[in-house]
Every structure is written in structure tokens, then in C-alpha cells.
């Protein structure tokens, strides 16, 4: 029987994937699912809808399947992955029911010493803590109303998304904000506790400086929010059509080239935008990125608003402002709307941009609702005129960012207790000279610090065969320990899905590296080919059209460490759908997964850049089947190596010779 359908849904309270059986009950294994013939399907659908009305399951949908040896096998890869679990983690999901992993091991809820755990993060006061606790309680009530049936899924979804809770392929996914990518050691430990207690022992870092837990139960989420709030963490503004978590440079507060610490203004924007009465129901999500260094490490030109903090000749802070940038199905470099915005006007100007967008952004078409489409339709000149008009028309007493406000917020960031050290440390230089493996790691994974004698180190979460951005609870604890011992309690997360220990004394760096190496966290590949950004793809995401992680893994396998160093800086990102969460458009080599007649195919783009020289990559040609992607990428790299002059990076060679020589690779493949 090939022409049959299964009915698959998620169970409301824990999100588990379930199928309807012949008695119209829900079962947890696809082996027990009923295969409904075309005649039987309408009645089965009705039965499933009755379960929806009873608030037992969410989103039941028929999926085509065949019986193979009496067992139903869904036709689509997506439904097969739901029936199995992630192909990249065969120890998780349905395929692992027999041997449950360590997650779920319960331990005492930690008493979090937020006040004692001094780190250069923003210190919450009792009012701000109460607000987070109240939000967790409020969500608890909303969940109770959903479970009792007072709210249906449609009404509840708004609240669910406002608290970072998505329904994905295998169940609920909870997205926790890491505002401007800054964490203290104490907070990272709390995330480890959440991963162990409520999830399956790991988390996934995203390009928006958030961390996702993939296996949350709806009924647990109010408690998780409360546990997070114990450590001044939350899920506010991680989803929904609001102003999202403001992202910034992962070396913020540490980088030698930094002009303004962008975290202070990012925190101001966070406070301003949290539950903003006017801008919480925008046409679409709204992303702001900010940097305080001339080197753009935050991709600000590809955000709805991108802000570059600068200082003028007399040392005053001001901002260069971009708007209308974005990736997704319509990648656009932002338009510069202001060359110099005085600090005092920051919130007023951002309000003006958002007001124009909220009033005029399209609401008839989800795909055209982003501000980039509005800017394109109005033309940049007209858009700027409208912002400026709105800006001038704001009430004269509205929200000037006075110096004392900036100072007060700045004062809440505990200043790291840097020691006075010489600029270069002899022990560090000696270790570099003696240990080539350490020297190689220093070359790729460290960044100069503004404080003499210090250095920032990137902890790569892209080990060979690993899953980009995945970090286990054990690894979180190891990094938290190192941050406490050697990085003044601070950690950053990067939009490239790595962790950063920002403030290491040069003389401690060798010790830190040895500890990281012992923990498997010292992969020396930052900025190299295997430092790919990859979204979760179809292994987890319900929007994905293809898998992304295994593609990045299989490409990386072809290039060992020395070969990657020989190739040099290369950004290779893999997205599992057109929404471009992995920023493939702005990678030197971008890979986009597509569904082509039921088979995973990948479109390749070349020449993108997210930095000051922002550019959207150019499509190489026809898409390539899953199996052939690694060899095509290898062929592209060979062409680059043959053509490159002197120290050219891949991007430089591409810009010099254009796309034509690279098109050769698609001619040879069949």
C-alpha cells in the first residue's frame, strides 16, 4: 500500500511527536501509527481535529507514506527525521528511546550568587529582577490557561513566542537571550543547569547571540524561565514580531580597536525596547546590531537597523546609522540613513525609524513585511525624508539620552579589575616559540586586547565532526571554570557560534589553551574553512527545506588542519532554507539547502561579505545534490589556490577574477 497517509502531530504538554493509530489514539512510535487509505483519511482527520479541540495535540497533518515490511515509512525526509530524530545526533529523539541520554538527571535548583559573581556584565537591581520573575509567573498563568483549554493554540502562540518558545520538528524549542553576547561565569553555569535538568544536556548557539534548547516541555517552561531569572537571564525578545535581542561585537569591551564599548548602548536599547508599548506588534521581527569598532564584527549592514558607534574629533560619542538591511529571501545591504547621530538622539531616532516602519510596513504579505522591502519600495531618499520628518515631529520632551542616563547605565557594568601589565609577556612569547600547536591556535583563535598584557581567546565550537554551535553542559561548566579562573568571570558568545574568553592575561594563555585542549575545545580553526556557521537545518527546524549541519561536516572532513591554514581565511556558511539563519549570503562561500523534487539540493554563492566591504554573494549556477557538495567545494578551492596571487584570501581572488573561472566546477559535475 503506497498511497496512504499517516497523521502526525505534537503533543501539547511535552511537544513529543505522536501519530494517530487505528483506534484514533496517539502513539509515540511511527511503527504503531495507522496508515490511512484515501477513503479512511477524512474520518481520521476529523478524529485528529477533535483531539486538537480537546487540547491534547497541536498541528496534526497528514503525511504521505508507504508500508515497508509492514512498517510505515513517510515519503518526505522531514517526516522521516521526525519519526527518527536528528540525523546528526543518533543518540537523541525516537531513535534513542531505548537508551535515554543523561539529560533529565535532576539536581537541586542552584542558589545563584548573582551579587557575589562579579563580572563585567550589567548588574540587575531588585526592580529589574522582579520584572523577570513577574514575566515568568505571567507566562506560567498563560501556560495554565493553554493547558486548561481557555486559550487555543492560535491565541497562545503570541504569548509563547513572546517568551522564546517555538514548536519545532521534534517538539518545543526554547530560545534564551544572551543580550549583546555577554555572559558571566555564573550565568553560563545556570545555562548548563537548564541543559541538564530540563533538556538533553546541551544547547545550541545561534547567529543572533542566543542559545536554544531543543527538547523543552511546555509544562516545564515557566519553571525554566524562573530558573533563568535567578541568574538575570530571560527569553524576552527572542522571537515574535518585536525588537529582537540587540547583537554586537563578540570582542566588545575588550578589543584593541574598540572606540566605544557598544554594550552600554545595546543595554540602553534593550531596556528601551523591552515590552515597548508601541513596537511589540510590528509587521515582522526587527533586528538591531551595533558595533563600537571600525572593524565590523557584527554584520551591522545586514540588520533592520545597524549602528556604528564612533567618536568625533572632540571625543563625543555619536552613531553612523544604517537601516533596511537584511538577509533571508531578499538579501539587501542596509542604507546609510545618518552619518552622524549625536548620542543624545539615539532613542528618538530609533523610535522615528520604527514608527515609520510600524505605520507603513506591509502586513498583507509575510515575505514582504520586513523594513528592507519598505525601504526598497519607498526608495532610500524618500525613506530618509520620512524618518527625519517623524524625528522632528516627536514630542519635545521625549526620551533624550542625556549623559547622566548613559553614565548611570554604564556604572551598572562592573569594570573588570585589570592589572597593570607590560604590553608583551615573555613567558607567553616563549611558549609560542616552543610549541607550534599553541602558536597555530594563537594565530587563528586570539584577538588583541585594549589592555596591555591581556588577550582575548575564541573557544571554537567547531571541532572536526562536531555540530557548529552545539555546546554540552559539561563544556559550559568547563568554560565557566576557565572564565572564573582566567577571564575575570566573563564570557562572550559570537554570532559565528563560538564562545570567547575576553580578558585573559597573556601569561595565563598557555595554561588556558592546555585546559581547553584537554576538554576538546582548542580547535585552531577560527576564521578558517571549518569554522562554518550552520543553522540547525532540517535535523531540528520545521522551516528548513534541507539539512545543513551534515553538509558543513562533510566539507570540513575533506580539509585537515594544515590544508585549512594553507587556504587561509575563508568563511563558508550553510543555511537549511531561504530564511538564511546561517548568513550564507554574506559568506565567502555560501551554501543554501533547497528541496528539489524531494531531494536535498544546494545552491552555492560566492563573494559575500558581512564586514565593512559588505556584499551579497553571487549565485554560482545550478544547484548541486547533497552527495556532490563536498567535491564541488573542493574543486572551487582548488581553482582559488591555482589562481591566487601572493597572500590573497579567497574573497580577494574572487573579487579580482570574478565568478567566471569558478563556474567550471559545475560543468564537470553531471
Amino acid at each position: 500500500m503506497s498511497d496512504c497517509h499517516l497523521i502526525c502531530a505534537n503533543r501539547l504538554d511535552d511537544g513529543a511527536v505522536v501519530w494517530l493509530d487505528a483506534q484514533y489514539e496517539w502513539v509515540e512510535s511511527v511503527c504503531l501509527a495507522a496508515a490511512f487509505s484515501p477513503d479512511a483519511l477524512p474520518a481520521a482527520n476529523d478524529a485528529a481535529q477533535a483531539w486538537v479541540r480537546d487540547n491534547h495535540v497541536v498541528g496534526p497533518l497528514p503525511c504521505a507514506a508507504s508500508l515497508v515490511d509492514g512498517v510505515p515509512v513517510p515519503h518526505s525526509l522531514r517526516e522521516r527525521l521526525r519519526a527518527q530524530g536528528p540525523s546528526i545526533r543518533t543518540d537523541l529523539g525516537k531513535q534513542a528511546q531505548a537508551a535515554r541520554p543523561s539529560g533529565g538527571a535532576s539536581s537541586e535548583r542552584p542558589l545563584v550568587p548573582m551579587a557575589a559573581g562579579k563580572a563585567g556584565v550589567y548588574q540587575y537591581d531588585p526592580f529589574e529582577r522582579d520584572f523577570l520573575k513577574a514575566r515568568a509567573q505571567q507566562f506560567g498563568q498563560q501556560v495554565a490557561r493553554r493547558l486548561s483549554g481557555e486559550l487555543d493554540e492560535e491565541a497562545f502562540k503570541v504569548y509563547r513566542l513572546m517568551n522564546g518558545l517555538y514548536l519545532q520538528l521534534h517538539g518545543y524549542m526554547l530560545r534564551v537571550a544572551i543580550p549583546y553576547g555577554t555572559l558571566s561565569a555564573v550565568q553560563l553555569r545556570q545555562l548548563a543547569y537548564v541543559a541538564r535538568t530540563y533538556d538533553k544536556g546541551y544547547g545550541h548557539l545561534t547567529t543572533r547571540q542566543n542559545i536554544q534548547f531543543n527538547w523543552s516541555h511546555l509544562a516545564d517552561t515557566p519553571e525554566i524561565l524562573s530558573v533563568l531569572a535567578d541568574a538575570d537571564l530571560h527569553c524576552i525578545q527572542t522571537s515574535g514580531n518585536c525588537i529582537r535581542n540587540v547583537t554586537t561585537d563578540h570582542f566588545a569591551g575588550a578589543a584593541a580597536d574598540e572606540v566605544v564599548d557598544p554594550r552600554v548602548h545595546a543595554e540602553i536599547l534593550r531596556q528601551w525596547s523591552t515590552d515597548h508599548p508601541e513596537f511589540t506588534y510590528l509587521p515582522r521581527k526587527f533586528k538591531i546590531a551595533m558595533t563600537g569598532s571600525p572593524k565590523d564584527r557584527a554584520a551591522v549592514r545586514f540588520h533592520d537597523i545597524g549602528i556604528l558607534a564612533q567618536r568625533n574629533a572632540v571625543g563625543e560619542v555619536g552613531f553612523e546609522v544604517y537601516a533596511g538591511g537584511g538577509l533571508g529571501r531578499t538579501p539587501i545591504v542596509g542604507t546609510r540613513v545618518r552619518q552622524w547621530l549625536p548620542e543624545r538622539d539615539l532613542l528618538r531616532y530609533v523610535e522615528a525609524i520604527l514608527r515609520v516602519y510600524n505605520a507603513l510596513g506591509r502586513r498583507d504579505n509575510l515575505y514582504k513585511a520586513r523594513i528592507k522591502i519598505l525601504v526598497r519600495e519607498l526608495k532610500p531618499g524618500r525613506f530618509i525624508e520620512m524618518i527625519e520628518h517623524e524625528f522632528c515631529s516627536l514630542p519635545s520632551d521625549r526620551q533624550y539620552l542625556e549623559p547622566e542616563i548613559v553614565q548611570a547605565i554604564h556604572a551598572r557594568f562592573v569594570q573588570p579589575a585589570f592589572e597593570s601589565l607590560p604590553g608583551l609577556c615573555d613567558e607567553y612569547l616563549a611558549a609560542r616559540a616552543e610549541d607550534p600547536a599553541f602558536a597555530a591556535w594563537v594565530r587563528t583563535n586570539t584577538h588583541p586586547h585594549k589592555q596591555p598584557g591581556y588577550i582575548s581567546a575564541v573557544v571554537s565550537l567547531k571541532p572536526p565532526g562536531g555540530i557548529p554551535g552545539d555546546v554540552s553542559a559539561e563544556e559550559m561548566l568547563q568554560v565557566a571554570d576557565l572564565a572564573e579562573a582566567y577571564s575575570l568571570n566573563e564570557i562572550r558568545v559570537s554570532h559565528e557560534q563560538n564562545l570567547v574568553l575576553p580578558h585573559i592575561r597573556q601569561r595565563d594563555l598557555y595554561t588556558v589553551w592546555q585546559a581547553l585542549r584537554a576538554a576538546g575545545l582548542a580547535t585552531a580553526n577560527v576564521g578558517l574553512l571549518s569554522d562554518s556557521i550552520a543553522c540547525p537545518g532540517m535535523d531540528y527546524c520545521s522551516l528548513a527545506t534541507a539539512r545543513s549541519v551534515p553538509v558543513a561536516q562533510r566539507i570540513a572532513q575533506r580539509f585537515d588542519g594544515p590544508r585549512q591554514r594553507e587556504i587561509g581565511e575563508l568563511k563558508l556558511n550553510v543555511s537549511g532554507c531561504i530564511n538564511a539563519c546561517a548568513h550564507h549570503h554574506v559568506a565567502h562561500i555560501g551554501i543554501l539547502g533547497l528541496d528539489k523534487a524531494g531531494h536535498e539540493n544546494y545552491q552555492i554563492t560566492l563573494g559575500g561579505s558581512a564586514e565593512e566591504d559588505a556584499a551579497v554573494g553571487t549565485i554560482l549556477g545550478r544547484s548541486v545534490p547533497y552527495e556532490q557538495v563536498p567535491e564541488v567545494i573542493e574543486a572551487l578551492i582548488d581553482i582559488y589556490l591555482a589562481l591566487r596571487q601572493a597572500d590573497e584570501r579567497f574573497l580577494d581572488t574572487y573579487r579580482r577574477v570574478g565568478i567566471a573561472p569558478f563556474k567550471e566546477v559545475l560543468r564537470d559535475a553531471h
Binding site: 526592580f127 491565541a155 504569548y159 508599548p277 513596537f279 511589540t280 510600524n358 521625549r398 542616563i405
Partner: protein, 158 residues
């Protein structure tokens, strides 16, 4: 069902004309913008209430705002937030001081934001238990500034 800023149900004396309805005279009539002239000509008096869709350009109705005691702003969906901006503009830019009423499939959890943007009453769906609106109104009374920025800004604006 009409509720006030305290989340309490109120008697509603207003007659809300449908878009295609022929106006009948009543001192408490809410008309849609295209019906404004018709009503005025028929009865020699302006209507006292005006119904605005979320995408209404305020320049088009600016001339009559001074004559109104009630403006209803319609939210097409609970997640269509244009009405919040419209309300702020009516209060802040056009100086409207009358009753500003939200209508549409709004949720009690949006009540605080509605009030903050300048609404003074809401036409609510009978499907939602009334007590939820009262709870939302009580929560506002107990609300304190949530962030340092909010406290510092309030001090500045006072």
C-alpha cells in the same frame, strides 16, 4: 462589550454605524470616514464619533478631529500593531483629548500597552472572561518602572 480603563464593563450609549449602513440621527453615532460628509449634510451636525482602521492616514481626517468626543481605532488582528502607533499620534501630535477606544480581537495581555499608548477604553470580545481585563488593569496599578532607563527617563521628563 465596552470596558473602561479600570477593566470594568460599562454601558455603551454609542451607535457604531456599519460601513454600508445609512446614517440615522443620534447624538452618539460613530461613523466611518467616508460617511462623515453624508452624516453632516443629512443632519446639519457633525457626528461625534469616528471609526478608524489601523491603516488610516491621519492627514486625511485631521480636519475633523477637533469635533470628536470619541475615536475608535480598529485592530484587524491582535498582532497587527498599527493601532498602537495611531493612538500615540492622535494623543501626541494631534492633541486629541476625548475617549480613545480600541476595537478588534485584542487580548487582556495587551491592555497595559493599550493604556500606555493613550487608549481610554476597549471594545472587547465576549469570548474572553471579563475578569481577565480587570486583572490586567489591577496589574497596571501595581506596576513599577521595570528598568533603570525607565526610572531615569521619568525623572528627566517630570
Amino acid at each position: 462589550m465596552l470596558i473602561d480603563r479600570h477593566g470594568l464593563p460599562q454601558h455603551d450609549p454609542w451607535h457604531y454605524l456599519a460601513c454600508d449602513e445609512t446614517p440615522s440621527f443620534s447624538p452618539s453615532t460613530v461613523v466611518h470616514p467616508p460617511q462623515w460628509n453624508d452624516y453632516h449634510m443629512r443632519f446639519g451636525l457633525p457626528a461625534q464619533g469616528l471609526w478608524l482602521a489601523g491603516d488610516q492616514a491621519l492627514e486625511e481626517v485631521q480636519a475633523v478631529l477637533g469635533q470628536l468626543t470619541l475615536i475608535v481605532v480598529e485592530f484587524a488582528k491582535s498582532r497587527d500593531g498599527r493601532g498602537f502607533t495611531l493612538a500615540r499620534l492622535l494623543r501626541e501630535r494631534h492633541g486629541f483629548t476625548g475617549d480613545l477606544r480600541a476595537a478588534g480581537p485584542l487580548l487582556p495581555d495587551q491592555f497595559a500597552m493599550l493604556m500606555q499608548c493613550g487608549f481610554s477604553s476597549v471594545l472587547v470580545s465576549p469570548a474572553i472572561p471579563l475578569v481577565r481585563w480587570q486583572e490586567a488593569a489591577v496589574a497596571i496599578q501595581h506596576a513599577r518602572p521595570r528598568t533603570l532607563l525607565e526610572r531615569l527617563s521619568q525623572r528627566n521628563e517630570v
